[in-house]
């Protein structure tokens, strides 16, 4: 089976028009004529993901994120790097095809990144209010208890929190990856997201949550990390592709959380 045929079926099944202007959702290795033995979905095409996928007989990798450490996967940026050269060699040695699916995954309904993230941290769809809003209203708890529960369920070793641990919270806004609404929205207490610029951006949610704690305003931000935030939904992506590509095996191969962190105390 050829990679081009798989991509054609993805485009057909997507439910939203394909935007050819995307620079993200393109081949990063191999091409439409590459022969595919099996498909791995993942957050990042790390060296370990390439090794694990090819050992399992899967030579097509569909990541949500970039392969060459920059969003455009501009290989000129990394061309002089020794590890880049090793990565390229490994991809070529195993005839690996890489096709990123990012923009269209977020355009699809439902957006699997939100579905997977909510599942991974235990947010029940029946608490989503209003439906499809990524805002969940849960029984009142403290920021400390919520953060501990989210950490336990997600397994995120490097999870970080800003805000008064004792703050009473119930209205949660879920963000994914690097896309987070501002924490100061009047209808949310807690923002749970992947990664967020710490300051000097369009809105700095961490500094705001720090001052909210000092001012006695119940606001918190829980940062899961980019991979933890978006990789869960690559399971849904694998299951979806499996439904219309029965010819080859399809499975999630996790990149896993790259970071660890010491406890606060």
């Amino acid at each position: 089976m050829k990679a081009g045929e798989i991509i054609d079926r993805i485009k057909k099944q997507l439910g939203v028009p394909w935007r050819d202007a995307t620079y993200r959702d393109t081949f990063k290795s191999g091409g439409p004529d590459s022969e595919v033995t099996g498909i791995a979905t993942t957050a990042f095409v790390s060296l370990d993901v390439i090794r694990t996928a090819t050992a399992a007989g899967l030579n097509m990798i569909i990541p949500h994120e970039d392969t060459f450490w920059n969003d455009r996967d501009d290989q000129a940026v990394v061309a002089q790097d020794a590890v880049y050269k090793q990565k390229l060699e490994l991809l070529n040695k195993h005839n690996v095809v890489v096709f990123r699916i990012h923009d269209h995954m977020h355009a699809q309904r439902p957006d699997f990144t939100y579905v997977g993230s909510a599942r991974a941290i235990g947010l029940d769809p029946k608490h989503e209010d209003p439906p499809g809003s990524h805002r969940f209203v849960i029984p009142e708890t403290t920021l400390a208890a919520l953060a501990a529960d989210v950490k336990h369920r997600s397994g995120a070793r490097a999870l970080r929190v800003v805000g008064d641990p004792r703050a009473k919270v119930s209205r949660i806004r879920l963000g994914v990856g690097y896309a987070s609404p501002p924490i100061n929205a009047a209808d949310i207490d807690v923002l749970i997201s992947g990664e967020q610029q710490e300051s000097d951006g369009t809105f700095d949610s961490q500094p705001y949550a720090l001052d909210a704690a000092e001012a006695g305003v119940a606001k918190g931000i829980i940062l899961l990390g980019h991979t933890i935030s978006e990789e869960a939904g690559m399971l849904e992506m694998a299951q979806w592709i499996k439904g219309f590509v029965p010819e080859v095996p399809v499975q999630l191969i996790k990149a896993e959380e790259p970071l660890w962190g010491p406890a606060s105390r």
Binding site: S133, A144, Y178, D211, E214, L259
Partner: protein, 341 residues
């Protein structure tokens, strides 16, 4: 279980003392401030502790002196400058900090200072205005999700309680806030790297001519994490790529927020990079692949704000030469982050 953020802080970078764990030790009394500044005033070439000299200087004049003496051309378009307060205010004391958080402002007032010089924004955005930015959808920065349609704002949005509290505190105490970031870090050698090395006790290990590079006595990743906790007062904000047992000797510093190009340039020549903030899809994944390729390396992130506070301590020393006779000191923000067990 509530996370504990109080322990393990050097008095030098004593921090913000979490609101629920503040001890008198983390505050500086007016008398202590005076004692510190008296020592500064006794330094060579400084004027004596003449109150009238201090009283004569306005915030506007201070900013003019900074602009004139910073050593790099002042940009027409800049994030630096006056962010709050009356420029005609007579300066009673200056506090430098990585970020003028409400906690830092309170401790500045307790210390008798009325001017705060901050590296990062005061009002939660690059725009740094005293009112909240207009509500908008989620930022679409790469590689983020496609923005979902934001819910329509309520007909009469209530005032933002955090902005209100901060503005009220600034007004009540007649504070002046000046941002000094993009010009400060353009100085050579990079004062943020110099400060970080000073805080870690690495100055004597500097690789000649490069404020970003230090060849230190060998230590493990675990030991380096412990030293960062102790010397920078950072804990929950620390995140690491790499094996805790990896032995390190060659250290590279990337304070602030840095793009992949900085890591690509530095990582091959060091065992570990200590950075403030990077993009996870860039430098974190690059470091992960470095380790997976068999290279015994590590990337340690301490947070943007925590990485910039030591450089603002250096800024306090510099401001003593810009405003002789005026009490100047540094107050750290402290680690904004905590992590559940």
């Amino acid at each position: 279980m509530l996370p504990e953020r109080g322990g393990d802080r050097s008095p030098a970078t004593h921090a913000h003392g979490a609101w629920y764990n503040r001890t008198p030790m983390t505050r500086l009394s007016r008398r202590e401030f005076a004692a510190l500044t008296a020592a500064a005033a006794a330094a060579p070439f400084a004027f004596g502790p003449d109150a009238s000299a201090a009283a004569a200087l306005t915030a506007k004049e201070l900013l003019d002196r900074i602009t004139a003496q910073i050593g790099v051309a002042w940009k027409a378009e800049t994030v630096d400058g006056l962010k709050a307060g009356d420029p005609s205010t007579a300066v009673t004391g200056i506090v430098t900090t990585a970020m003028a958080s409400l906690g830092v402002l309170k401790r500045a007032v307790e210390a008798g200072a009325n001017v705060v010089v901050t590296s990062q924004p005061t009002f939660y955005a690059k725009a740094d205005t005293r009112t909240p930015p207009a509500p908008r959808g989620p930022g679409g920065g790469p590689p983020g999700a496609a923005p979902a349609a934001p819910p329509p704002p309520p007909a009469a949005a209530p005032p933002d309680a955090v902005y209100t509290a901060k503005n009220a505190f600034i007004d009540q105490h007649k504070l002046v806030v000046i941002r000094l970031n993009e010009h400060w870090k353009l100085r050579d050698p990079d004062p943020q790297a110099v400060g970080l090395a000073q805080a870690m006790g690495w100055t004597k290990h500097q690789v000649a001519g490069n404020a970003k590079r230090y060849d230190v006595p060998a230590l493990t990743v675990d030991a380096l994490v412990a030293a960062l906790r102790k010397n920078l007062g950072v804990a929950g904000g620390i995140r690491v790529v790499g094996d805790p047992k990896t032995s390190l000797r060659r250290i590279g510093l990337l304070p602030g927020s840095t793009p992949i190009q900085a890591s690509l340039e530095l990582m091959p020549e060091v065992d570990a990079i200590v950075a403030g903030e990077v993009r996870e899809w860039e430098s974190v994944e690059y470091a992960r692949d470095q380790v997976a390729a068999g290279n015994r390396k590590a990337l340690i992130l301490v947070g943007r704000i925590s990485s910039e506070d030591p450089g603002m301590r250096v800024c306090a020393d510099w401001l003593k030469t810009v405003a002789p006779g005026v009490p100047v000191r540094h107050i750290g923000v402290g680690d904004p982050y905590w992590r559940p067990a």
